[in-house]
């Protein structure tokens, strides 16, 4: 018998459960050597302050305090609600609650998604890998590098082809990667012919062992363009040091337009267009994403015919994290001086405009016809109702963007969901919460399982293993009437 298996004593079957697996009931599992009851059912409570410890939904032997039920302050998420697996029946929870006198219905189910994945935005200008390069986790292909966005590299991970279309190892590695990313855990990814990057939702990326701090506001040239007016008259020359394009104020179009005189400055590196230089230094983790610690190393000698003693020079990185102020001495050598007060503001503003570098993870999935059938007897009516914005879709209580067009394809920011909102099935596929909220009358009209609707108060009377967690303040309250759903695009009337 395997040593790492544990004996479950929750019932007389006494299953031996291996790590990461569940017993024959699928309710108890071996989580890192401990026997755990899986999937507590999560109920959001609006009044609880964020950060407050998660409380048991109703402690045994204690009377219900009457705070839940009729006031729309409690929202039942699909997390841990269970699916209709293995038999076909209406969604496990169809909850009614009253919000401002209107009967609202929330249909709650955990969807099993084979068609799902994550889009990862990594705030870094660093080259992580060429577009279409394979992204690997545990050596298995789990996705690819997709079109980069401004200041960020983008990865597209998961999807049905990696989950179920390849080898079992590819499927499980993909499933584990998605699960960890969605549950806010760090994942190490290796891009073919590219970087190794540690990604965790809401955290700075760690690229080849170095943690990113800030997104630059733009390249060096763009920074010149943005701040030229603020520098004009306060300083004679500005060099914005950047790994990609280093900008020089006096040569740059923006400086020319303002009438900034030539300064005789000489940059190392390869000139692209006036005032824009490639490759002033090797990439690194110091000034502007280069390896240099002393900015003067990228300058040649000033041209004696153009430069003058006392010339004021500001050197700054594209993130504003590094800066130096110099004046030329009699030999036209730059001497470091204290940054004048009237330049401090512009340096601070560069920094202010550089947002902290983060990894963001959007879960993306499509609710298939069968999942929708758990909500209504006529699934397409739910699609129409969602696209016509009568029905609000949430994912563990978090708002979603519903992609226009057919089906219900949605995206949600995983950091806005309660902890460990995602699970998996060994298929492999991800289990994600999904809730549909709409007026009771609308629910009846679209063929909902009205006979299965139960009042919120019925949930509190039974079922241990329900967790009450604070709603996130930044999320719109899923039951709020008058609140526009996240989707704004209305479909054409059919």
């Amino acid at each position: 018998m395997a040593d790492d298996a544990i004996r479950c004593d929750a019932c007389p079957v006494l299953c031996y459960i291996k790590p990461g697996r569940t017993g024959s009931c699928d309710r108890y599992g071996n989580h890192e050597g401990k026997l755990v009851r899986l999937d507590p059912h999560v109920v959001l409570h609006r009044a609880l302050e964020r950060g407050e410890a998660v409380k048991p939904f109703l402690e045994r032997g204690r009377e219900w305090d009457g705070t839940l039920g009729s006031h729309g302050e409690t929202f039942v998420t699909a997390i841990g609600a269970g699916t209709t697996y293995p038999d076909y029946k209406p969604a496990p929870f169809i909850i009614s609650s009253q919000v401002e006198g209107v009967d609202m219905v929330t249909v709650v189910t955990e969807g099993i998604f084979s068609y799902c994945g994550v889009k990862v935005k990594i705030d870094t200008d660093r080259h992580l890998g060429a577009e279409c390069s394979t992204v690997r986790a545990q050596g298995e292909a789990v996705g690819h590098v997709t079109t980069s966005e401004y200041g960020s590299q983008m990865l597209s991970l998961g999807g049905v082809r990696h989950l179920t279309g390849g080898s079992r190892h590819e499927g499980t590695a993909t499933c584990e990667t998605l699960l960890n990313l969605c549950n806010g855990k760090a994942v190490e990814l290796k891009i073919d012919d590219g970087a190794k990057v540690v990604v965790q939702a809401g955290q700075p990326p760690i690229v080849d062992g170095v943690q990113e701090e800030r997104m630059r506001v733009g390249c060096g040239s763009a920074t010149i363009g943005m701040f030229a007016k603020q520098w004009f008259g306060k300083v004679d020359e500005v060099v914005v040091v950047d790994d990609h394009i280093t900008g020089v104020l006096s040569e740059h179009q923006a400086g020319k337009l303002l009438g900034v005189p030539e300064t005789g400055i000489k940059l190392k590196g390869r000139r692209s267009t006036p005032g824009r230089y490639f490759q002033v230094a090797e990439p690194g983790t110091a000034w502007g994403g280069t390896e240099i610690d002393d900015p003067l190393t990228i300058l040649g000698k000033f041209n004696a015919k153009k430069a003058w003693p006392g010339l004021r020079l500001l050197m700054v990185s594209t993130t504003g994290e590094h800066h130096g102020y110099f004046e030329l001495d009699e030999d036209l050598k730059p001497k470091e001086k204290e940054l004048p007060v009237d330049l401090r503001e512009s340096v601070a503003r560069i920094k202010e405009n550089c947002e902290p570098a983060l990894c963001t993870v959007l879960f993306m999935a499509g609710a298939g016809g069968s999942l929708r059938a758990g909500v209504t007897e006529n699934p397409v009516k739910l699609t129409h109702s969602v696209s016509d914005a009568f029905t609000r879709v949430t994912c563990g209580g978090a708002p979603v963007y519903v992609w226009p067009g057919g089906g219900i394809t949605f995206m949600a920011d995983v950091t806005r969901m309660p902890q460990d909102a995602f699970g998996y099935v060994p298929t492999p596929a991800l289990v994600a919460p999904i809730e549909f909220t709409l007026k009771l009358a609308d629910y009846a009209a679209l063929g909902g399982y009205v006979e299965h609707v139960r009042p919120l108060s019925s949930l509190i009377a039974k079922d241990e293993g329900r967790q009450r967690v604070a709603a996130r303040a930044e999320n719109p309250w899923p039951l709020e009437s008058g609140m526009k759903p996240a989707t704004t695009v209305k479909s054409k009337k059919r």
Partner: protein, 299 residues
């Protein structure tokens, strides 16, 4: 000892949910209010000891079925052995192959013996035992794949027909399968028989040695599996349609044999979107009726 089993009415006030360890039953009886109450009382009284009875003989029930073995003591265990035994000489099968159907059957039998009902069913995770008094019928929803809630259609059981048991097996389900069928749904006279037959047919839907099929020794997944070190299916890659036909053909041959032996009434075999139906028993035939206005079944 604390009461382990959970017994409660579902929110609709009509169906009863019985849960104990890995057993999860949805029970519904139809008849006079008094009759239904008595039936539910009988079912729950019987239910609370079922898991302990089974676990007392678990070592036996996990062993390969053989006519030489002694019979077990428990009523549910005996139903399991009775259902699995017809396959014992030719196939590898343990009584566990019929556990869900046997539990459903036992609870249903308890209700029917206690009181007169017009109809009743016990659904044990998709394996269903049905009782129908004359003139009654029962509509069942059928899935193509147990992990996706796609309803293939419905089938109707009529009192005049002999089918009283429905079961589904496949590699995506909760228990392991030696085959690659997404789902094999069987209609048989009793639930335990349907359960055992679904297991055997699902095992037969296979492409031995095919590289796109990932198989793992069952004991690697669950050390105490009744399947021991037999290879169970963990993943099935995309198959070309010829392969799908080939695998379904193999399963259909087995289903056909069971049909001719009188062990089943009908079977529907699904693999990667293809479905084969074997057998036809008048009105209870396994032809998927497309979902109508009220297509979903209580099951």
């Amino acid at each position: 000892m604390r009461q382990r089993a959970q017994i409660r009415m579902l929110a609709d006030g009509r169906r009863m949910h019985l849960h104990d360890g890995p057993i999860d039953l949805i029970v519904e009886a139809f008849g006079s209010q008094r009759a239904v109450e008595m039936a539910y009382h009988a079912a729950s009284t019987r239910f609370v000891t079922v898991l302990d009875e089974l676990c007392g003989e678990l070592w036996y029930l996990r062993r390969r079925c053989s006519p030489e073995n002694e019979w077990p003591q428990g009523a549910v265990a005996r139903r399991m052995v009775a259902a699995a035994m017809p396959y014992a000489p030719q196939y590898f099968i343990t009584p566990m192959a019929a556990v869900a159907g046997a539990v459903a059957e036992e609870i249903l039998a308890t209700m029917v013996a206690a009181v007169e009902l017009s109809s009743a069913y016990v659904n044990d995770g998709g394996d269903i035992a049905v009782y129908l008094s004359p003139g009654e019928k029962f509509v069942v929803g059928m899935m193509e794949r147990p992990d996706r809630r796609s309803l293939l259609g419905t089938t109707t059981l009529h009192a005049a027909e002999p089918v009283r048991g429905i079961a589904t097996s496949g590699w995506r389900g909760r228990s392991s399968s030696l085959g690659i069928a997404d789902a094999v749904t069987v209609l048989a006279d009793r639930a335990a028989a349907a359960d055992a037959a679904a297991t055997i047919i699902a095992n037969a839907v296979d492409l031995p040695g095919h590289p796109a099929i990932v198989r793992v020794p069952a004991c690697e997944l669950a050390p105490d599996s009744d399947l021991g070190d037999r290879l169970v299916t963990q993943a099935v890659g995309e198959l070309v349609s010829e392969e799908v036909h080939h695998a379904l053909e193999a399963g259909s041959r087995t289903a056909d044999l069971l049909l001719r032996m009188g062990l089943i009434r009908s079977a529907a075999l699904s693999l990667q979107g293809e479905t084969r139906v074997v057998g036809d028993v008048g009105q209870s035939k396994m032809i998927a009726t497309p979902l109508g206005e009220r297509g979903y079944a209580h099951a």
